[in-house]
Symmetry: C2
Subunit: 513 residues, 2 copies
């Protein structure tokens, strides 16, 4: 580490890791509003300007994620520095398992920046990062053994059924309203207009954001994308009704702290349409701030409750869908792809659980069925678990342990997706009315690979009509019991016997080329 003029930084960093410069400065006054810090980073292939932030205790930081290897220089300017400070460092190749940020690939899919395919299997734990350290550790341990490679969670605490307790920290200095008055019967009388909160919106709580960063980093180690929800409506603290200036200051602070983490995705909001104090114009302004303040172009979307945002807006990189009907959701994936020409991530297609609410009381079978419906239509389904009876720790909000059945079956799906020739599936245009059928997205694999899924149906056999000059290895997949039954090689028109149970899939792989 160098240490000159109170500026500290490492000599080397790995590609797509975080390079961080620290400066000492004054803790007096309001460092968040009164001090400035920024740096410009130069490498052979890129120049990046990054804003710094105050991290408490007189420490200011500026972060950078290098996208290339080689020698870099930087110049840091700050109100706490007498003059600009210039330094240099070396970016070494990425560490093992580090493939860079996830990018949109081939219009409808995702790949890491190094080209490795990324098949999103997401889950939602809205405020897992604002729970006790022990519970956070348990969540990470659960994730480690799961198939999940994306998790959606909030910066702000959440006020909602089964989520009435205080978070371990708040984003701002100040004190919250008295929550001892809350019960499951009266909680929905408390909203963003609740009284008794006393926040200093110009003073961030660095510990709150450090906690979130720690979670982002640990997710990174596990190969999991952090889909960070910046605003949401389930609020008794007033964080959803800050002014535009307060929102902007908050966003710049988040961007300065989080943008250099390669596994970050930006979700502007959970259920933006329920935030009564924000207009479409506000959301577009927020999007502008995100786009302007994130030199790494992390994936960006916004999630609705009832009224979809216009996903064709250019700043939106992918659709972040919620089912808007009781019965169907994942089944619309291919239509949404057609309409928006972007990847379709099904962030909420209801959760496995037993809540009194229709969005949170699917059986494991139905959750898994929705996954396969969405995945074979070329989308990326997401999970959540809302099972009661575990001391009020619900995965969907708090993390902890998984108690459901669907999550055990996602590795089976992920392995199958990973076998796709090229990257990504699309709906088979020749799909019959009574099947879900997928082919590779990439045209060069035409005629070489097919998946069929029978969902709730229970065929005892199916007839396949393929080209006479092509031989296919046929495998029957029981998506619930996670068994594979190899049925030999077939060509032309052939019948495959099936187990006459729901949730069966068939894979056809061309083998004669």
């Amino acid at each position: 580490m160098n240490d000159a003029h109170s500026v500290t930084y490492p000599q080397t960093v790995r590609r797509w890791d975080v390079f961080e410069i620290s400066c000492n400065g004054t803790p007096e006054g309001n460092p968040f509003t009164e001090q400035t810090l920024s740096a410009v980073f130069h490498g052979k292939n890129e120049s990046v300007t990054a804003d710094g932030f105050y991290d408490g205790n007189g420490v200011y930081r500026v972060r950078f994620m290098p996208s290339f290897t080689g020698d870099y220089s930087f110049t840091v300017r700050g109100s706490m520095l007498d003059e600009p400070y210039t330094g240099s460092f070396t970016v070494r190749p990425a560490g093992e398992g580090n493939h860079g940020p996830v990018r949109v690939h081939n219009t409808f899919h995702f790949a890491y920046e190094d080209g490795v395919p990324y098949y999103a299997i997401g889950t939602t734990c809205y405020v897992w990062a604002l729970q006790s350290d022990a519970l956070i550790e348990q969540t990470l341990e659960t994730l480690k053994h799961s198939a999940f490679n994306k998790i959606r969670f909030c910066v702000f605490p959440k006020h909602y059924a089964y989520n009435l307790h205080e978070p371990v920290s708040y984003p701002f200095a100040g004190t919250p309203m008295d929550s001892s008055v809350l019960t499951m019967d009266n909680f929905n009388q408390y909203d963003e207009n609740s009284t008794g909160n006393d926040w200093e919106f110009t003073r961030f709580n660095p510990a709150h954001f450090r906690r979130l960063e720690n979670c982002i980093l640990k997710l990174q180690t596990l190969g999991i994308q952090a889909d960070i929800i910046l605003f949401h409506p389930y609020d008794r603290w007033g964080f959803s009704r800050m002014t535009a200036a307060e929102d902007a200051r908050y966003l710049r602070y988040v961007l300065a702290r989080f943008a250099a983490y390669r596994n970050v995705w930006w979700s502007l909001a959970n259920e933006y349409d329920l935030l009564r104090h924000k207009t479409l114009k506000d959301w577009e302004a927020i999007a502008s701030i995100i786009c302007g303040g994130d030199p790494y172009r992390h994936l960006r979307s916004i999630h609705h409750c009832v009224h979809m945002y216009d996903f064709s807006r250019p700043w939106i990189t992918h659709c972040s869908m919620q089912r808007t009907e009781l019965h169907l959701g994942a089944e619309y994936t291919d239509r949404w792809r057609d309409r928006y020409q972007k990847p379709v991530v099904l962030d909420e297609i209801a959760y496995e659980g037993d809540l009194p609410y229709g969005w949170g009381n699917l059986t494991g079978e139905e959750m898994l069925r929705r996954f396969w419906e969405g995945a074979l239509r070329g989308g990326y389904p997401g999970h959540g678990e809302t099972l009661l009876g575990h001391e009020n720790v619900l995965w969907w909000s708090h993390g902890g342990k998984l108690h459901g059945e669907s999550h055990k079956r996602f590795k089976f799906l992920l392995e199958l997706l990973s076998q796709t020739p090229g990257l990504g599936l699309q709906k088979n245009p020749a799909q019959a009315w009574d099947e879900v059928s997928a082919i590779p997205q990439e045209g060069q694999y035409n005629g070489q690979y097919y998946l069929f899924y029978y969902s709730f149906m229970r065929p005892s056999s199916r007839v396949f009509t393929m080209a006479e000059d092509a031989a296919f290895a046929v495998t029957v997949l029981d998506t619930w019991n996670m068994t594979k039954d190899e049925k030999g090689t077939h060509r032309g028109t052939f019948t495959v016997s099936l187990p006459a149970r729901p949730y069966i899939a068939v894979q056809l792989k061309r083998v004669d080329i």
Copy 2:
């Protein structure tokens, strides 16, 4: 019995039973086209003209269903009679369990003519009446122990997968094509244009129609409506491509024979839109013949495959629906009601089975779920069973025994429907997004009775908010396990604990009035 001038008829008949006059005449020439017979019946409250028909062996008959009790006279005229014959008879009150024909009641529902509610629970056995006598008896025995009170079946034989064998009889004199060439692999190369059939379309086969009548009568005894399909596209004999004149002659023969049976419904076609040789004009002409030749105004509809007929046509008494999507069908019941302002009968919402086809491979659970979705939206769902593995006897085509699971649960539903205050359910306008909720159709029962159904969802409880001044007896119904759990009496806002399993319903019955 009188016996004068070769005219025979009984002295008495019961209301809504069949009064039949027989005349002897010549069997020479073509009695179907060369002889005429008709009668006019007069009672205090009605005058009905009915056409007669030739029943073979020199016997001609004319039938009449009296709708009132008391003294009736008739005059019969026929080419085999020297002069009109006049007679009289007495109509006695209806026998036990005879409530007359089923009529539309209160726009969306059905009642027997005497006002007794009729909640249709239908099934489909397309050609059960054209099987062996032993199989027909077995079907009747099965029906006797079932909840079914309507069965859909064809006059013509059926040519389709799992239905390649010859019927026991044909509607016309002549000989069919050689069916020994048929296999499950080649059958769909044979259609209404198949060669080798040799039919005399002017000569009916009375034995064929007697067999059907016998079935209609036995159904009547069991209290089951005979929903008779007059045309259908699954044909290798050419019966679906007769000329308009041949169709008209066939329809008049059917009307003369069947119309006097009180439990007859007319289904102009199964999947009319697949009959390539008929136009909408043809169907309207057929409808005119039915309307003109049926003095009893039996219920009339027509069933589609893909393109719904315009159910707003005035001759159509009720919608005869087929699901037109893979996932949803019964769920549209309330919208179809709104649109057509007629009863919605869900004659095909796919079948419980394990066929290779999506229309015939539902689990029992899914079949039952569709029943409840449709019934609580104020419609009348229908069943079919297509399970293989029973010596190629499939209920849906042949009748026989039921091997599925859903049918065992329909009595439970029927009993519940029969408890509706007034007659018939409608969608509760206050239905929440995550429930199916019904209230009585008849406004006078407003606020007194509610049903809720949670379909595939799995709530562990639900909160109900009812009027504070009304007390409700709460019963939780497990529609699959057929259990009822009485949860006491509640008022205002109350929570009902539920078993966190799918297929649960809740009944609220006001008890303080």
